[in-house]
């Protein structure tokens, strides 16, 4: 192992808090959501009023969902007004052909083993930024909107139904929206695998302490190993 030659403070506390709250919420939402779709625990004997077998799972799902939404909105605020160079949207311009140019191409080539050297970024590399946009921004937005539309179903005329209920006819009925919500939930375990693999691999290949950086906030530059 080479000597650490530089410490860079990359992930500020709000970003790290967001990350872990988001991670925890996602796991809870996935588990409770899958349970709601297919409740497996056998029914207890006795009176229905004694138990909350399904109600607690749903309550946990909805309560966690609201924390997830608040956390997501906070992250959007931080990206736009946080003045944080590694957490802002600033550099992400997928509508501009320039963004898809050399840096993006080089990163893709590196992942496909088409080049020997690994491009090194302190923040997110362009491929990671795109993945975050698709999975975390688009995925979460869809889950939040469709979730609120379904949450509004039990209170017609209420806030959620009034502002998000339009998604139900858009998807051709409540059942189709439930199906879409259930299907899209799978992008989160999918993303988790890709995310963890990419983090571990970068840490092994680049040795920038990217794994521990989401706890400590610091990434490291390491001296090249003497050869």
């Amino acid at each position: 192992m080479g000597r650490i030659i530089e410490e860079i403070y990359v992930w500020r506390l709000p970003v790290r808090l967001y990350h872990w709250i988001n991670a925890l919420c996602t796991v809870v939402l996935l588990v409770t959501g899958m349970y709601i779709a297919a409740p497996v625990i056998n029914p207890p004997l006795g009176e229905a009023v004694w138990y909350k077998g399904m109600a607690w799972w749903r309550y946990l799902h909805f309560a966690t969902a609201f924390i997830f939404i608040a956390n997501f909105l906070f992250r959007m605020y931080w990206a736009l007004f946080g003045n944080d160079r590694y957490a802002r949207f600033g550099g992400f311009r997928p509508w501009s052909p320039a963004w898809w140019g050399k840096p993006f191409r080089e990163q893709v080539e590196s992942y496909l083993f088409l080049r020997r050297d690994e491009p090194n970024y302190v923040g997110h590399n362009p491929v990671a930024a795109l993945a975050h946009f698709l999975f975390i921004f688009c995925g979460s937005s869809f889950m939040i909107l469709s979730g609120l539309a379904m949450y509004g179903e039990n209170n017609p005329g209420g806030f959620s139904e009034t502002f998000f209920g339009w998604l139900i006819p858009l998807f051709g009925g409540s059942y189709s929206l439930h199906f879409a919500h259930h299907l899209m939930a799978w992008i989160f375990p999918l993303y988790l695998i890709i995310h963890l693999y990419a983090v571990f691999r970068h840490d092994v290949v680049d040795r920038t302490s990217v794994t521990s950086s989401i706890v400590t906030g610091y990434k490291h530059k390491v001296e090249e190993e003497p050869s």
């Binding site: 029914p43 109600a55 017609p156 009925g173 199906f179 799978w186 375990p189 999918l190 693999y197 691999r201």
Partner: protein, 361 residues
Amino acid sequence: MQSNQTFADIFRASGISRRDFLKFCSLTSVYLGLAPSMVPKIVEAMETKPRTPVIWLHGLECTCCSESFIRSSHPTIEDIIFNMISLDYDDVLSAAAGHQLEDVRKKIMQEYKGKYILAVEGNASTRDDGVYCMVGGDSFLNTLKETAADAAAIIAWGACASYGCVQNADPNPTGAAPVSEIVRNKPIVNVPGCPPISEVMTGVVAHFHTFGTLPELDRMGRPKAFYNTRIHDKCYRRAFYDAGMFVRSFDDEATRKGWCLYKMGCKGPTTYNSCSKIQWNGGVSFPIGSGHPCIGCSEPNFWDKGSFYERLAEVSFLGTDSNADRIGVIAVGAAAAGAAAHAAVTAVKKAKAGKDSEEKA
């Protein structure tokens, strides 16, 4: 029979007492979900307004809506309304037939231009000029367009007229299309269900007659009074759902105890209808009450949404037969395999790179 009789005239002529007439008005207000203060308005409308002429057309359908409409165990309400609305044309129920009947339709369309209600049961075939549904020597597509042109409003009875039902289920060989896709410039009330509940049907007509306006509609054009909430939200088995007490097969103890049918594929949680409130056949029961999961017959395209007996079942997804969980597991498995393969290649490359540098040194 004079043509501008009011409801009250007909009641009186039929020997129904004023007391029974007021009872009927009160009950109608209850079914419409109106406050007691609205009862005098209903009474006034019934006494002073001439009956609303109704033309009832039948397209591609099974007549279950008519069956629901006429068949009820409480004759007081359903039969009175059925007898009292001025049902001037109905090719199933009319005594007249052939040209005689078609002339009545033309006459009503002229005499009550812009005032009659067009009730449509079933939908129209749109492929090959609508040749797959011919009624009275013309395609139902033409008849529907022609009759809709001068109607005050259209009531789309049942899942067929509202959404298409089994006729336009995949692959829809006759191009069957719901009324809303054929007539676009008229107010349409969707009264979905296969069939809709009879009190819901009569309630919609009574609302128009009483207030001269259509009932308040939701985003999918359904009367809010009857389709505002899901069956699930008013289901008497909801307590078992919240408790997590589910029927797991049709012959288990839970079935006998009447627990929740959610795991048997009940579509109550995603179906908007009044079954769990008004119930069927004059309040005798409804499917869940009889131990069968709701099949969601008042929801769009319910035939194409997989098995009636599974939740989020084998829903056709982008032309495959996979369900959400199978697609999810395959995608996650592929990602894991991809990551493992990528890691292996990385390791090999790294080892090779290490060897190269060793050799150099």
